[in-house]
């Protein structure tokens, strides 16, 4: 009793305080989304519901289901394609270095930091010309192309940890460029693929600017539909919150179950990794 750990106690108090602040918005989304309509009012937005009512979810889901589907059609191919291209690029840039490879890498990497507003006007004109404007394949193309820098970066950093001697040994055994990639690099980079896939999945699912400018009504991914839902004054708050929940659920689940890989992706985005 004499040595009550004051320091430790204060540390816990601060951490718990911040944790409560961080969870608060999630609490409000969940509580509001399961309230029956007559309990959704400004006065008792913080109160727990008297009964749990999922009708707002069914309402939000009928409105958002087509857009959720659009997002799935978008995210799955875009993630796979950009991961594969990134793996190939990362392999070349880390294990088959040539003169100027580093400069070329930076030249690719710059594409990850640009404000996409600066390519949007020509991009839309280009997509119109090739008849892919307002299509999901058009959005897939866009996300694959602008995903190249980050996926290349992640795989390049990942492959930097595979010792060059292994590549040399495989070469002496007669394996060629593609053989080494298929039989040595890919099996060694399953974790890399998981990290990159989770990162791309989360980013593309959550992306808004391309989605809102390249697609209209029926072809819009979930985030645009959510924004439209919350922008319209006639939609009730509980339905909006249920919509936010539906839109956030896939990335939330990924975070809960594969959070470790998500954080690795997060750190890889800081270039030096």
């Amino acid at each position: 009793m004499a040595s009550f750990p004051v320091g430790k106690f204060i540390k816990y108090v601060i951490l718990i305080l911040f944790a409560v602040l961080f969870i608060m918005p999630i609490y409000v989304i969940i509580v509001t989304s399961i309230k029956p309509l007559d309990e959704v009012s400004l006065e008792n937005m913080w109160a727990l519901p008297s009964t749990i009512d999922f009708s707002s979810y069914s309402q939000a889901f009928t409105k958002l289901a087509p857009n959720v589907l659009n997002s799935i059609y978008l995210v799955v191919p875009a993630t796979i394609l950009s991961a594969l291209l990134g793996a190939m690029n990362g392999y070349v840039l880390s294990k088959w270095r040539f003169r100027g490879a580093n400069t070329l890498f930076l030249f690719i990497l710059f594409g990850m930091f640009i404000p996409y507003q600066s390519i949007l006007i020509p991009l839309i004109q280009f997509l119109r010309t090739i008849d892919m404007y307002n299509t999901i394949p058009g959005l897939i193309l866009v996300h694959v192309v602008y995903g190249l820098p980050i996926t290349t970066l992640m795989f390049r950093n990942f492959y930097a940890n595979i010792p060059d001697e292994m590549i040399e040994a495989a070469k002496i055994d007669g394996a060629n460029f593609l053989g080494i990639f298929r039989h040595l690099i890919v099996p060694l980079s399953i974790t890399g693929f998981v990290v990159v896939a989770i990162w791309q999945f989360t980013n593309i699912w959550n992306e808004f600017l391309f989605a809102v400018t390249i697609t209209t009504s029926d072809n819009q991914p979930i985030m645009v539909a959510l924004q439209n839902l919350s922008g319209s004054q006639i939609v009730q708050w509980n339905v909006q919150m249920a919509g936010a929940m539906i839109a956030a659920l896939p990335t939330m689940l990924v975070y809960v179950f594969l959070g470790k890989y998500f954080v690795r992706g997060l750190l890889a985005g800081s270039v030096k990794g």
């Binding site: 961080f22 404000p115 602008y146 040399e168 070469k171 959510l226 909006q240 919509g243 939330m252 997060l266």
Partner: protein, 312 residues
């Protein structure tokens, strides 16, 4: 020694090396066209008279840029971006580093805390905007608690400019409404700096801190004099990553507050979107985009360049 093996592998390398480069070429072409080519194209549009639905690529010189810098809305955007960036980066660094240091103290439940603080990173800016729009609505949300203390901030509906003075066509000062957007953005992005600092702290050997303690340093001095300087490169990275996010921010503000009354929460990203895709002022929109790109490049280009040197 083993001369013939070397010759053999050398020949093989050069052939495979070409294959490697060939595999890289499609990506290089894509980046060349979609990044650099399109930036060039946007630059070209920004110097044209293309300010309606009918494409007009006649040369306008810097007309669109001059228009923007005299424009009330764009001046407000630059002011808002400046204050948003400073407050946002400051808060993300201080809170992220503070929480990282606390979590690094080997307390029980550190992984629970870490997971809670990192969680918003997995959400979309649109979701964040929708939720915080409600939490910081003056008639609901946090104000229901704050009313107990007799304060009712107007949050993002506040049109006051703190310490404002006339400058150009705007009142220059801190727009109070921008603080609400900063709060939402900090909630979402603190996890990033937290993760970075945690990784950094884990990389500092315990012996170093022990040695400082042995020399009689207080716990505060250990952090201030030993740990903090070692985290400087991480702070640099966090500043640059956050600065580029903040300079091009669009979806959070678009979903949460929009431009606001008197453009108190407007930013170039929102202006560009509305003027280009709602108003068909393509040349003006392109000019805003180029200015945004230049602002981001000021941070990013030296950062990338320095990382290249560190590489070799």
């Amino acid at each position: 020694m083993a001369n013939d093996v070397q010759i053999k592998t050398k020949r093989k390398i050069s052939k495979d090396q070409w294959t490697a480069i060939a595999f890289l070429i499609p990506s290089i072409i894509l980046i060349l066209v979609f990044v650099y080519g399109f930036i060039g194209w946007t630059g070209y549009v920004s110097l044209s008279n293309y300010n309606s639905l009918i494409p007009d690529f006649s040369f306008a010189g810097l007309k669109n840029y001059l228009y923007l810098f005299q424009d009330f809305r764009f001046q407000a955007d630059l002011r808002n971006t400046l204050f948003f960036t400073i407050l946002f980066i400051g808060a993300v660094i201080v809170i992220g580093m503070g929480l990282a240091i606390l979590i690094d103290q080997k307390l029980k439940g550190e992984s629970i805390f870490r997971n809670i603080f990192l969680f918003p990173m997995a959400l979309s800016f649109v979701v964040t905007g929708v939720v915080w729009q409600w939490l910081l609505n003056p008639s609901t949300g946090f104000n229901q608690f704050l009313s107990v203390f007799g304060i009712q901030p107007k949050w993002y509906t506040d049109t006051n400019i703190l310490a404002g003075f006339e400058w150009g066509s705007i009142e220059f000062g801190l727009p109070v409404a921008i603080i609400s957007v900063v709060i939402a953005a900090v909630w979402q992005m603190t996890g990033f700096s937290l993760a970075m600092y945690l990784a950094g702290l884990r990389g500092i050997p315990d012996e170093l801190r022990e040695a400082a303690r042995m020399d009689g340093a207080t716990e505060f001095q250990v952090y201030w004099k030993v740990v903090l300087p070692m985290l400087a490169p991480i702070t640099m990275s966090v500043i640059i990553i956050m600065a580029h996010i903040s300079l091009k921010i669009f979806d959070l503000i678009y979903a949460m507050t929009g431009s606001g009354a008197n453009f108190v929460t407007d930013v170039p990203g929102v202006y560009m979107f509305e003027t280009t895709f709602r108003g068909n002022y393509y040349a003006n929109g392109a000019a805003i985009a180029i200015i945004m790109l230049l602002l981001v490049a000021v941070f990013i280009v030296p950062y990338l360049w320095s990382s290249r040197k560190g590489d070799q």
